[in-house]
């Protein structure tokens, strides 16, 4: 069993407690695990918050470039503090809840949405050891929590007591029915190829031969097509253009978050970027080799090893690989948003049910046949 993030944090805590003359290891096992997990999750939460702030800025800058204008460039160097300023502004805004809204569900919905978006981070491996929980049902866990987000959105749409919000929520319900199946099928393709539901195992399996052991190359053509199916269906699940029907501003004003403002709106915003990150990271992990990748950890020539990364450097290079791939895939999502129009509700159901599902079945069956051939 390899070390994970919780073990690393506990080791650090033990060393730190030794410095002040206390014995951390004397605490019960349960307390140690829980505190390690809490610290790890708090760290991830900070990462997600910084990430969202960065990507909201990046989105606006990218949009500016695509639309031949500047984008925010006044607050901080290159305007990088713009979304921080916006966030502070939103935080200090008056908390408005419509009189006719359901008070409990209206408050609960953004939390549920963010929880659904954030929970998959627990199993996303940044590197061999940089993962909070190395659970064997990692893929399954990530998918089930991603589906929780939908309930939050429908709740927001219903509780707002606004017809446009209701439309937004109902649209996501219809959309979810159609994109969940292709996501499941494309992930199953990888599970069949790898024989594991553990995300760390799936990545370890792609080690070697520079980039040609990555699942998209190893499982060619099945995994290659499965990646596109996963990414397209993932776009739909993160409610991004061209599948941003639940919040289609030209049709539904602002969709399910029409009535939200201030901190609750921030939660929705945060969860949108978090979902984008989760989908991109899952694509990188399942198909694009995870922490293995273009940045090498061993410099070797003619059978002679000149430099090999130690555990610390190796983990950092691995994390850089995962984050680099994820950021590239997120950039593609931004690029899509500022290029494509939006599809209609019947078209998204058509694309998912009649195009992605049959192709997903083909890739799954193909990969299964591949696995049978020795």
């Amino acid at each position: 069993m390899t070390l994970n993030l919780v073990d690393i944090i506990n080791q650090v805590l033990e060393w730190a407690s030794g410095l002040v003359g206390l014995r951390y290891a004397a605490l019960p096992e349960l307390v140690r695990t829980a505190s390690g997990m809490l610290i790890a999750c708090a760290g991830l939460l900070g990462y997600v918050a910084v990430l969202a702030i960065f990507f909201i800025w990046a989105e606006r800058r990218v949009a500016g470039r695509i639309q031949s204008r500047q984008g925010p460039n006044r607050v901080g160097p290159q305007g990088i503090l713009q979304s921080l300023a916006d966030g502070i502004k939103l935080l200090i805004k008056e908390d408005i809840i419509p009189d006719t809204a359901h008070p409990l569900l209206f408050r609960l919905a953004p939390m549920l949405v963010f929880m659904g978006a954030f929970a998959p981070f627990v199993v996303l491996p940044f590197s061999e050891n940089l993962v909070v929980s190395n659970m064997s049902l990692g893929v399954y866990y990530a998918l089930s929590f991603a589906a929780l987000e939908v309930i939050g959105v429908i709740m927001a749409g219903w509780a707002s007591n606004n017809k446009w919000s209701l439309y937004g929520g109902m649209r996501l319900a219809a959309q979810m029915m159609s994109y969940e199946i292709p996501i499941g099928l494309s992930i199953l393709t990888i599970v069949v190829l790898t024989g594991s539901l553990n995300l760390s195992h799936i990545v370890s399996d792609q080690q070697g031969a520079w980039i040609f052991r990555w699942n998209i190359f190893r499982g060619f053509p099945w995994a290659f097509f499965a990646m596109f199916i996963f990414y397209i269906a993932g776009l739909a699940s993160s409610k991004r253009t061209p599948f941003d029907l639940p919040e289609a501003e030209s049709e539904l004003v602002a969709g399910y978050h029409t009535e939200y403002s201030g901190i609750r709106f921030v939660m929705f915003m945060l969860s949108e970027y978090t979902t984008m990150y989760v989908i991109s990271a899952l694509t990188a992990i399942l198909f694009l080799g995870g922490w293995h990748g273009p940045l090498p950890r061993t410099v070797a020539w003619d059978g002679q090893i000149y430099w090999q990364a130690g555990p610390v450097a190796g983990n950092l290079i691995g994390a850089a690989n995962v984050i680099g791939k994820t950021f590239f895939l997120m950039f593609v999502m931004l690029w899509f948003r500022w290029t494509f129009p939006r599809v209609r509700i019947d078209q998204i159901i058509y694309v998912c049910m009649k195009m992605l599902v049959p192709f997903g079945i083909v890739t799954l069956v193909g990969a299964a046949a591949w696995a049978l051939i020795p």
Partner: protein, 373 residues
């Protein structure tokens, strides 16, 4: 069906404050889930008594008021009004002024169609075309600013001529813009017109059959989108249009059925190119001479009446004037093309999806300033 599962139609108010109702149009939708069964448009939120004002100010004074009819095509409105008054009063206009008016009107047509391109893209969910359209429109606004000093309510045509002569600098800037526009037009098609998602959103949506288009009195690109080659600039040439070479663009159902939203959009795109062509011809063949005739400051018009129609970007803009020998018209009636074009929406938006409603309203391209007057 058990009582708990009973479904119901809901009424939704779209507008007057809605991102895609082009100003202050209010549409009441009767929806069954995502399906829109019926719509009822409500207008009048931008009513400013234009016609009554026209009867209470002099002919000369009313000219700037016409800027605010279709505020995206102020030049075309000016031209329509001044030609109507000139014909009513029997004023002879120098040829140079006529040609300059055509230049301004056609540049304004391009600007208006660019805005329509942008907003139509926005309605299908694409943001970038909007900025591209505005970027090119900026070139026209810069020309207009030099022509007449304004950037929105341009006011260049005057009774008897135009405000100022065209300088060499403005002509050169216009030529640069026209060259740039043709180049950008190709880019627009790559970005939006030929985009598969866009085509699927707009083709076969909101089909107006040719006979329905005629029955509802549709004009402009909305009529030509249905395949009817009717253009006042050709049918009843005014100004110098009879001396210019241009094509009347019609919808051919390239991506779906004739008269669908994509056809109307495409007619506008083609008209941009035709207007570029007209502007070039005007710049090349501009006659020398005075740019304004002598018109008395207090223009008194003998008792007469006139119905003059001109081709504005959105269709047939007509002025019906009755004069009684004073300096104010006795009756000033304005036919706004958007008003007639809008009348068809409750017939074509029926049993379609909510997303189609904004696309169809966008494809008809109404400007509420002209609907309500």
């Amino acid at each position: 069906m058990p009582e708990a599962l009973k479904t119901d139609e809901i009424l939704v108010n779209m507008g007057p404050q809605h991102p895609s109702t082009h100003g202050v149009l209010r549409v009441l939708l009767k929806t069954d889930g995502e399906w829109v069964r019926e719509i009822y448009p409500y207008i009048g939120y931008l009513h400013r008594c234009k016609e009554k004002i026209g009867e209470n100010v002099t002919y000369v004074q009313f000219t700037p008021y016409t800027d605010r009819l279709d505020y995206l095509a102020a030049m075309n409105n000016n031209v329509g009004w001044v030609i109507a008054v000139e014909r009513l009063a029997g004023i002879e206009v120098p040829p140079r002024a006529t040609w300059l008016r055509v230049l301004a009107a056609e540049l304004n047509r391009i600007a208006s169609h660019l805005l329509s391109f942008g907003t139509f893209g926005m309605e299908t969910g694409a943001f970038t075309p909007f900025f591209y359209g505005f970027r090119e429109r900026e070139g026209i606004l810069s020309v207009f600013e030099k022509m007449c000093g304004a950037r929105l309510t341009y006011h260049y045509a005057r009774i008897g001529g135009v405000m100022r002569d065209l300088t060499a600098e403005i002509a050169a800037e216009t030529r640069t813009f026209l060259d740039d526009m043709e180049h950008r037009w190709v880019e627009y098609n790559a970005l939006l017109s030929d985009n598969e998602i866009f085509v699927r959103r707009s083709a076969n949506v909101g089909i107006i059959s040719p006979d329905r288009a005629i029955a509802y009195g549709l004009t402009g690109p909305s009529l030509r989108g249905s395949g009817i080659a009717h253009d006042i600039r050709r049918a009843e040439p005014y100004a110098c249009y009879d001396q210019l070479d241009f094509r009347v663009c019609i919808g051919r159902g390239l991506r779906g059925t004739i008269g669908d939203s994509w056809d109307r959009y495409w007619v506008r795109m083609l008209e941009i190119l035709e207007s570029v062509k007209i502007c070039r011809q005007v710049l090349d063949g501009l006659p020398e001479g005075p740019y304004r005739a002598k018109v008395p400051r207090d223009l008194k018009v003998p008792a007469n009446e006139i119905y003059f129609r001109s081709e504005a970007p959105r269709g047939e803009l007509a002025f019906y004037l009755i004069s009684d020998g004073t300096n104010k018209p006795w009756r000033c009636r304005i036919r706004g093309p958007s008003f007639c074009n809008l009348s068809i929406v409750s017939e074509i938006i029926r049993n379609c999806l909510v997303a189609d409603v904004v696309v169809i309203i966008g494809s008809i391209d109404v400007v509420m300033g002209e609907v309500d007057r």
